[in-house]
Every structure is written in structure tokens, then in C-alpha cells.
């Protein structure tokens, strides 16, 4: 099932790039005290403080969110007061749920290109300002898909039922993932939802779309995240333990929901991860990664997608999780931050995965630190079944 694409050949040697600082807001359901720009600035100031830079040290900015959640057209030019873009180059990237990782990857390419030495990548969302489902539904084709099969949850529910039928996995297996995310979130002072939950809590939560219940799925959050990328030669002067970007890979595959084949693995994640693993020299994910921040928008993803990523064989996801391998202290702790199911400010969510992975490598994760984390995996996911993969390492490539 795995295709070797052999795309390693490069004509121009990219500069090596590292993350040298991160910042995020304390994520909440509603931040009424600040407007969008002010919220963005909180994350930006914290990122600058984290690496002891000022905005004047920043050469370029890239920003992302999902437009219809706040109804701001041309967010890059709107954001200036909050993003620090005054008399600076700034551009907007946006790709749905993967926006946050798209922003991180764009930050990487800005520096790798050689044109900029220190780049600020910003992801943000103020989900409280709109009807999330109402906005998401507009991603579907207005003629073919919008009125029949739409919103984030139905397609995920279809994947879950297919997976359960294929391997005999249960709702309790998925609930174990939800419990883990919330347990981890308790260590993260920035996380939105931190109250611990039990398997029973998940099973008794309201059913949204079988088999997905309220506690199987991510919340909607107001929050922002900012990450500073710097070039080799510059990064080392800013940060004692920079998190070097070893690989980034993207596959945005489907365009129409009806084309998705639920009997196979998440194809975009498989393809993107294999390309990134090859680039970074990863042979056995469970052994070679010390920590993973995975974009799991719902609990069943924590069973199925870890198989797709090669942490365990197809069908073995539940066993792998119940054995404790993905808990703090386990073989490959997953989502020490609490993950997407604990915090979901959509434009920031993917960037938070990269930021949290970087925080692990930089040794700044405090209560959620995985000891001696040297190699980290971060993923992004979004409509329509798209995947992004970023690999960070304490070692310069």
C-alpha cells in the first residue's frame, strides 16, 4: 500500500531552519475581553518574549485562519496592529482544518528560501464569533455536496463506523483516547478543556452522530498561537535548544466527499507521513519518535490514524492505546498538550501541534514535558480528508 515516491532530489540546497520560540493564548470558549487583533497580539508578544526578540527582529509574517469563522476578508491586511505587520511583508495562507500546519510550513519555507532570517507564523481563531457548523458547511460544493452530506461530524462518523465494522473496535476503545487527551490537558496551563473525564462520562455524553458523542469530539475555542522560525546561523544565537525542521509534507487529496474510500486508511496521512519519514530518516515511528502531537479531531482517529502513521499494525490501534504506550511515561506519549480534543481554535490548532512538539524539544514543556525529547512528530488534519506532517528534531539535519 505504500508507494515510494523517490522525490529526494533537490537542485537548490535549502537553508536549515529551526523553531526558536513559541507563544499561545490561554485558550477559552469566549474571549470577550479582546477583539481578534488583540488576541493575536497576545500570542505574538509571548512568542517574542520566549525567544527574547522584538517585532523589529522579525523579517516577515505569515498568518492563517478560516475566513468565515470571523467573517474578515483579507485577514493579513486587517491584522497589522495585532500581528506586527506594519511596514513588513505579510501574507495569508488558509487550508481549512490544516491551516495551522499550513502556516507552520509556510513559515519554514519563508526561511528555507534564504529570503528571510526570522519569520513569525501566526494561527488564530475566534470561534465564539460565529456558528461553527454553519461556517464549515460552506466548504462543501454548493451544487453537489452542501445540502446532502456536510459539516465536520458526518464524514468522521462514517469513518468510525467503517473502522468498527472492519476490526471490531468499540466505542469504549475510542473513549480511552478521549480520556487520555483530557488527562494530559490537566498538565497544560493553556488548554481549553482540562477537567478530567472517565470512560463512563464519554459513553454517557449525548450522541451527536453515531458513534460520535459529545465527549468524542473537539470543542470550539478562541485562541491564537505564534511560532518564530529562524535560519541556521541565526537560530543558534537565539535559542540554546532550537527545534530543527527535519521534514514537512502535505497531501490535500480529496475534493468531493463522495470520493473518499472509508475501507482504506487515511490516504493523505499515509502518503504525507511516508514522504516525511523518508526525508527525516524515520524507519520505525514508535521507536524513532520520542513524542507525537497528532491532530486528532475525534477519539476514533486516535485508534485508526496511529495505525496509518505506522505506530502499530492495522487493527491494533485499540490494543496499543489500552497498553498505555501513548500515555505520559509510555513508549510514545501522544498529545501531552491534551491535543485537539482539549483545545480547538481552528486556525491555530495545527500550529499548536507544531508549537507543542517544538516546546518538547526545546525542553520548555514543564509539567507536560516528555523527558529527553529529541525527535517529535506533528500532524495537521482538515476538510476534506487532508493531512500535513512536520518532523522536528534537536539535531540539525
Amino acid at each position: 500500500m505504500c508507494v515510494d515516491l523517490g522525490r529526494g532530489v533537490r537542485d537548490i540546497m535549502a537553508r536549515r531552519v529551526a523553531i526558536v520560540g513559541t507563544g499561545q493564548t490561554h485558550h477559552r470558549s469566549q474571549r470577550r475581553d479582546v477583539n481578534g487583533r488583540e488576541m493575536i497580539r497576545e500570542a505574538v508578544m509571548r512568542a517574542l518574549e520566549d525567544c527574547e526578540l522584538t517585532i523589529r527582529d522579525i523579517d516577515a509574517i505569515v498568518i492563517g485562519n478560516m475566513d468565515h469563522f470571523e467573517s474578515i476578508n483579507y485577514v493579513d491586511t486587517w491584522s497589522i496592529e495585532g500581528s506586527g505587520g506594519y511596514m513588513r511583508p505579510i501574507m495569508k495562507v488558509t487550508t481549512g482544518g490544516t491551516t495551522g500546519t499550513t502556516v507552520a510550513i509556510a513559515g519554514y519555507y519563508h526561511v528555507a528560501s534564504g529570503l528571510f532570517d526570522r519569520v513569525l507564523a501566526i494561527g488564530w481563531e475566534k470561534n465564539s464569533e460565529s456558528d461553527t457548523t454553519g461556517a464549515i458547511i460552506t466548504c462543501s460544493d454548493p451544487i453537489w455536496d452542501r445540502f446532502s452530506y456536510s459539516g465536520a461530524i458526518p464524514s468522521l462518523a462514517t469513518e468510525a463506523t467503517a473502522y468498527m465494522a472492519q476490526y471490531g473496535a468499540t466505542q469504549e476503545d475510542a473513549a480511552r483516547v478521549a480520556v487520555r487527551e483530557r488527562t494530559h490537558a490537566a498538565n497544560n496551563p493553556y488548554a481549553h478543556l482540562t477537567r478530567p473525564i472517565t470512560i463512563k462520562d464519554v459513553m454517557e455524553s449525548p450522541m451527536l452522530s453515531y458513534p460520535i458523542k459529545l465527549l468524542d469530539v473537539c470543542p470550539r475555542t478562541d485562541g491564537a498561537c505564534a511560532v518564530v522560525f529562524a535560519a541556521e546561523g541565526v537560530a543558534e544565537k537565539i535559542c540554546p535548544k532550537p527545534a530543527w525542521v527535519r521534514a514537512c509534507s502535505v497531501r490535500h487529496s480529496y475534493t468531493w466527499f463522495g470520493d473518499v474510500d472509508y475501507d482504506i486508511g487515511l490516504l493523505s496521512l499515509e502518503r504525507a507521513s511516508r514522504e516525511a519519514y523518508r526525508e527525516a530518516g524515520i524507519r520505525s515511528p514508535a521507536d524513532d519518535f520520542d513524542v507525537a502531537e497528532l491532530y486528532l479531531p475525534y477519539s476514533f482517529a486516535g485508534l485508526k490514524w496511529i495505525e496509518v502513521l505506522g505506530f502499530c499494525k492495522p487493527g491494533e490501534g485499540p490494543r496499543f492505546v489500552w497498553d498505555g504506550h501513548t500515555d505520559m511515561g509510555g513508549k510514545i506519549p501522544m498529545n501531552p498538550s491534551g491535543g485537539v480534543m482539549s483545545t480547538n481554535c481552528i486556525g491555530a490548532t495545527g500550529l499548536l501541534r507544531v508549537a507543542e512538539a517544538a516546546i518538547q524539544i526545546m525542553g520548555k514543556a514543564q509539567k507536560r514535558q516528555v523527558p529527553d525529547a529529541k525527535t517529535a512528530l506533528a500532524t495537521g488534519f482538515g476538510g476534506c480528508w487532508w493531512s500535513d506532517v512536520v518532523i522536528l528534531s534537536a539535531q540539525k539535519p
Binding site: 479582546v34 488583540e38 464569533e129
Partner: protein, 151 residues
């Protein structure tokens, strides 16, 4: 295969993105709107680093990127920096065309304030003096200032 396409008349499907929004104004902006509503005052704030007085007031200076504290009153009179007379109406407009948009340098501020002139737009010229007129019923909204008027 292509023949049958020639006789097909392309269709369209009508739709709309009709979604309600609730934007957070933030504390700084809220003080501005509350002052419009409760005191018919126009508030501004000043960056201590560069000295620029901004209206509406800002929580931080866009240029210096530093925090701004406090506020002061500006206007209600000012000088027109630029204007345009809108001739073609649209449902979005708060007034029936013709009316004008103006950028007003309110007395005491260092930036232009964007608003409208409903009635005496034919008297407008760059450099002329205008004054903010408030609505009788105010709700904490930019249109608590009903219009600017040439003085």
C-alpha cells in the same frame, strides 16, 4: 461525446452565506463605544513611544507595537482630510445616495476618522470644518454618531 454538450444550456444555482456574527469589541473598543452611547464623547488613546493619538483608541500602537494605556477625549469637531460623494446606492449603505464618506482629522487626534456626511455633502471640501452629530437614541455603535455636519 462532445455533441450533446452543444445543446445544453448551463444552469445556475442561487444561494447565500447567511450567517449571524457576534464580534468581540474588546475592552478598549468597548470603552469607546460606551463613551459614544453614555456621554456623547469621542475617545482616543495616545502612544507614549511615538506620541501618535489614535481614534478609535487602540490597545497597542500599530507602529511601535507597544501597549497603550489610558484615553482622552478628541473632537467633536475636526477637519476634512478626504471625502467622496457616493452617487450609486446599495443596501449596505447607512444613508440613501447621494451621501458622502469622510476622513476627518478630529481636533486633538493624529489620524483620520472614517464616517459619513448625510445631508450637506455638497458643502464639503478638503480642509473644511465638520462636527459630529449624535443620535438621540444610542446603543454603543459607531452610528451613535449619526453623521458629520459642515460647520
Amino acid at each position: 461525446m462532445e455533441d450533446w454538450l452543444k445543446d445544453v444550456k448551463p444552469l445556475t444555482v442561487k444561494g447565500q452565506i447567511a450567517m449571524p456574527y457576534t464580534w468581540s469589541v474588546g475592552e478598549t473598543g468597548s470603552s469607546f463605544l460606551v463613551a459614544l452611547r453614555d456621554q456623547t464623547k469621542i475617545l482616543a488613546s495616545r502612544c507614549d513611544a511615538c506620541g501618535t493619538v489614535y481614534v478609535p483608541p487602540r490597545k497597542n500602537c500599530p507602529k511601535c507595537f507597544t501597549d497603550i494605556q489610558g484615553s482622552m477625549e478628541v473632537g467633536p469637531e475636526g477637519t476634512v482630510e478626504a471625502f467622496t460623494i457616493v452617487r450609486q446606492g446599495h443596501p449596505l449603505h447607512p444613508a440613501k445616495a447621494p451621501f458622502a464618506y469622510v476622513l476627518v482629522r478630529l481636533d486633538g487626534s493624529d489620524v483620520g476618522f472614517l464616517h459619513i456626511v448625510r445631508d450637506d455633502w455638497d458643502k464639503l471640501a478638503v480642509g473644511c470644518r465638520v462636527k459630529a452629530l449624535f443620535r438621540a437614541q444610542r446603543t454603543g455603535h459607531i452610528l451613535d454618531i449619526d453623521t458629520f455636519q459642515v460647520i
